[in-house]
């Protein structure tokens, strides 16, 4: 116990250890936060949901905070609807069961770029006669543009940019541009815009709801991808996945390597020979190719890949290193004493040999975490990521496949890459410091 406290206080003398520990604690906090706020099922639904889940988001939207760094401002996305009152509406009953609905939504537009699209999602209930809705657009400079007159079916989507009638009326191909620019100067008009909606229902039970979705240029804290998914979900959920994969692989590999090396050295004979032969064969096997083959042919599940990684990483150079150290430890006096009082083989292996090597195990374990975290990301970048889980590597793969760098969507790669980098560096820094604390040979160097 005292030794442990000693090494801990020794450890905290290294600034890199403090930074590394803080980074790891931060990551653990994010991981716990992600798992608690977005439960597993919900995360999967949001990641694989498609258009139904993410229709309110624009495609390829950068995170909203880039406005802080840019002199020209991008429009933020929003969506409002009559159902929850974010579009205030008044319903006045008329004669013979008809009723009229008036709703006005006013918003301020101060961006230097046009939004991607404006969409109305209209839903209604009726027996026979379809309700009717008309929309008008009021610009800050006082123009009024009639947008559409529609008979509404039960679920209807109206996209401003794709309405051919509106294109003809405005004599333009780009509806969004002519809605937001001054027709004479061609400049974007900033100020308060209004969307006027007026609807009529023709049956007493009939009613109508409208959702107005504004697809801007930026979205949320993390932005969105090609499928309108909020990148916050994979960024948050990638943390527990990366940590779990890295830690489990590192722990499994180093503990199993050590136990097998200890058993081999203690019992010697054919056990030791077998372990050495397996190691020789395994060193010849191409590690990454075999993982790629397993991913392509068998299963891309993260658990299969994790087990294969551990199995292939046990019998490598480190088992040889452990073996040579165990050979020395085996000859020590305390082992001799244990043998003399009749301790059994397993007892000597697990209570005498292995505990002696724990100081060597810990730095190696921590330092090997980044390699495994990046291995998972590398496989995902090659298209062999887990098919279900949202991970950082998957974001990079999506971004690469969609030419993010070429098309200038830098945020898309930078966000997961930064997180990966921080994780890798955090563990590597702590591992380096641990190596110096536990490895007295290095302490002075």
């Amino acid at each position: 116990m005292k030794a442990l406290r000693n090494s801990l206080s020794n450890l905290l003398k290294y600034p890199s250890a403090v930074v590394g520990l803080l980074v790891i604690l931060g990551l653990v906090f994010i991981a716990v936060y992600a798992v608690v706020t977005i439960p597993y099922g919900e995360a999967i639904r949001m990641w694989r949901g498609g258009e139904d889940v993410w229709y309110q988001n624009p495609k390829f939207a950068a995170p909203a905070w880039i406005n802080l760094f840019s002199s020209k401002k991008y429009a933020e996305s929003f969506s409002v609807k009559t159902q929850d009152g974010s579009i205030p509406r008044e319903v006045t009953p008329g004669a013979e069961g008809t009723s009229t609905m008036d709703a006005t939504y006013a918003f301020t537009f101060n961006s230097d770029y046009l939004p991607q699209d404006l969409i109305l999602y209209i839903s209604s209930s009726y027996e026979q006669k379809q309700p009717f809705i008309s929309a008008e657009w009021l610009t800050p400079d006082g123009r009024t543009i009639r947008i559409a007159n529609l008979a509404v079916s039960q679920k209807q989507t109206y996209r401003f940019a794709q309405d051919e009638k509106l294109k003809t009326k405005l004599r333009t191909d780009n509806v969004i541009s002519s809605l937001f620019t001054d027709p004479e100067t061609g400049r974007i008009v900033k100020g308060e815009y209004q969307l006027l909606l007026s609807g009529v229902t023709f049956e007493p039970e009939s009613n109508m709801d409208v959702e107005f979705v504004f697809h801007g240029q930026v979205f949320g804290l993390a932005g969105t991808d090609q499928q309108r998914r909020d990148l916050m979900v994979p960024l948050l959920w990638g943390t527990p996945v990366a940590l779990a994969f890295g830690l489990l692989a590192a722990l499994g590999t180093s503990v199993l390597t050590m136990v097998i090396a200890a058993v081999g050295t203690w019992y010697g004979g054919w056990v030791d020979q077998l372990i050495q032969r397996i190691t020789e064969v395994n060193i010849v096997l191409p590690f990454l190719s075999i993982l790629i083959m397993i991913g392509t042919f068998y299963s891309r599940s993260i658990w299969v890949i994790l087990s294969a990684t551990i199995l292939l990483s046990i019998f490598t150079g480190s088992i040889i290193a452990y073996r040579s150290t165990f050979m020395q430890v085996k000859e020590s006096m305390y082992i001799e004493a244990a043998k003399a009082y009749g301790a059994s083989g397993p007892r000597i292996v697990f209570l005498y040999l292995i505990p002696r090597m724990i100081p060597l195990l810990i730095p190696g374990l921590v330092s090997s975490v980044p390699a495994f975290v990046f291995l998972e990301a590398s496989l995902a970048v090659l298209g062999l990521g887990d098919p279900v889980l949202p991970t950082w590597g998957k974001i990079i793969q999506d971004a690469n496949a969609n030419g993010a760098l070429y098309r200038g969507y830098y945020y898309w790669i930078l966000e997961p890459a930064t997180l990966l980098m921080i994780t890798g560096l955090g563990f590597a820094m702590l591992g380096f410091a641990l190596d110096r604390v536990f490895n007295p040979k290095l302490r002075d160097i």
Partner: protein, 374 residues
């Protein structure tokens, strides 16, 4: 000359006996080593073949693909359209059968595995199932040979640069222990936890996307310049980013490792002794520090040479570099077992050969080591 014992004839005999036993020892060692290495290589290659076959499941995939492809081709060909439905069905069946025979699907999987194994071990790499080289050949040897120069160029340049620069810098640093540069290298060594393709993405972002001064990927401009000088320049321009990312990713850790290694050796008593004698520091470095560390440096160098062969799969994929690593990845995606096995067997042979040679090289550079001695 210092010790002369016994009669001259006795001395010669003793020498002869010693020489004989040395030859015997070396021969026995060589034979056992070659045998164990051969067994190791055989088992590894067989395992690779088993995994690449996926216990026979790949056969099902390939059968399906052949059926699809043949049916499509025949259904689309104008001459087949005028045929009798029965004649056409027979044509499809026959084509599928001959196609399956070409790929070898008519032979049981266990037999095929051993055939793959014996062909691989005798380096008859055979023909690829789906891949073709750029010149249109399906011969695995040609496919691999065509991809070898780009990989050797990229990996060779970056790894050799990395090796020599880090050994030299480390020697230099080990003399200036505790200086600013030394601390800098120690502080930066965790950066090597990040793999090269990752730095590659950042480099592409900075130099290709933002500054637009270097290409995103590929090996030469398209169309390739006809003038050899322009071709070389274009190649250099395309190679800069992948080579840089390969170097950056291992640079600091490599220097750090060599430096620590040299430092451990430079605190030996005989080094202190040499310094006390007043030998110039160059001599101390060369003869007292570098010399005993030579076996380790040679091992590293040999492993580096082997790593040239495998290429860097992900870095090559990220930079669209037409090398062996990317070819292997493509081969796996196309279930092209001959290419996978071909690439593995050459790696296995190279590794075995290097391990075998190293034992002798150690004996050459380190007088304490005897070949086959305990």
């Amino acid at each position: 000359m210092a010790v002369v014992t016994g009669t001259p004839t006795g001395n010669v005999e003793a020498k002869k006996r010693a020489g004989n036993s040395a030859v015997l020892r070396v021969a026995r060692f060589t034979i056992t080593r070659i045998l164990t290495l051969a067994i190791t290589v055989t088992i590894s290659v067989y395992l690779t073949i088993m995994i690449a076959n996926m216990g026979g499941y790949v056969d099902t995939i390939m059968r399906g693909e052949i059926r699809d492809r043949v049916t499509q081709t025949i259904a689309n060909s104008p001459s087949a359209r005028q045929m009798d439905p029965e004649v056409r069905a027979k044509l499809i069946r026959d084509t599928i059968a001959s196609e399956e025979e070409r790929v070898g699907l008519n032979v049981p999987i266990a037999v095929r595995n051993f055939r793959y194994l014996s062909n691989a071990l005798t380096l008859q790499l055979g023909r690829a199932h789906n891949m073709t080289s750029d010149s249109g050949s399906k011969t695995v040897r040609l496919i691999l040979l065509e991809r070898l120069p780009p990989t050797l160029l990229l990996m060779g340049t970056s790894q050799l640069f990395l090796f020599f620069s880090s050994v030299l810098l480390a020697l230099n640093l080990s003399r200036r222990y505790g200086s600013f540069w030394d601390k800098l290298v120690v502080a930066f060594s965790p950066t090597s936890a990040v793999p090269p393709w990752f730095y590659g993405i950042f480099l592409i972002l900075i130099f290709a996307a933002v500054f637009k001064i270097l290409p995103f990927g590929g090996m030469v401009d398209s169309p390739p310049p006809s003038n050899p000088v322009d071709y070389g320049l274009s190649l250099l321009k395309h190679m800069l980013l992948p080579a840089a990312s390969l170097v950056i990713s291992s640079f600091f850790l490599s220097i750090y490792n060599y430096r620590t290694f040299f430092l451990i050796y430079s605190s030996e008593d005989y080094v202190e002794m040499a310094k006390a004698k007043g030998l110039p520091s160059r001599d101390v470095e060369r003869r007292y520090i570098l010399r005993p560390t030579l076996p380790n440096i040679i091992t590293n160098f040999a492993l580096l040479i082997i790593s040239l062969w495998t290429g860097a799969t992900i870095t090559e994929t990220v930079f669209l570099w037409p090398g062996l690593g990317r070819t292997l990845f493509q081969a796996i995606g196309l279930y092209d077992i001959p290419v996978i096995v071909g690439s593995t067997i050459i790696y296995a042979y190279l590794l075995a050969l290097t391990v075998f040679m190293l034992d002798f090289v150690y004996a050459l550079v380190d007088p304490r080591v005897k070949v086959g001695g305990k």
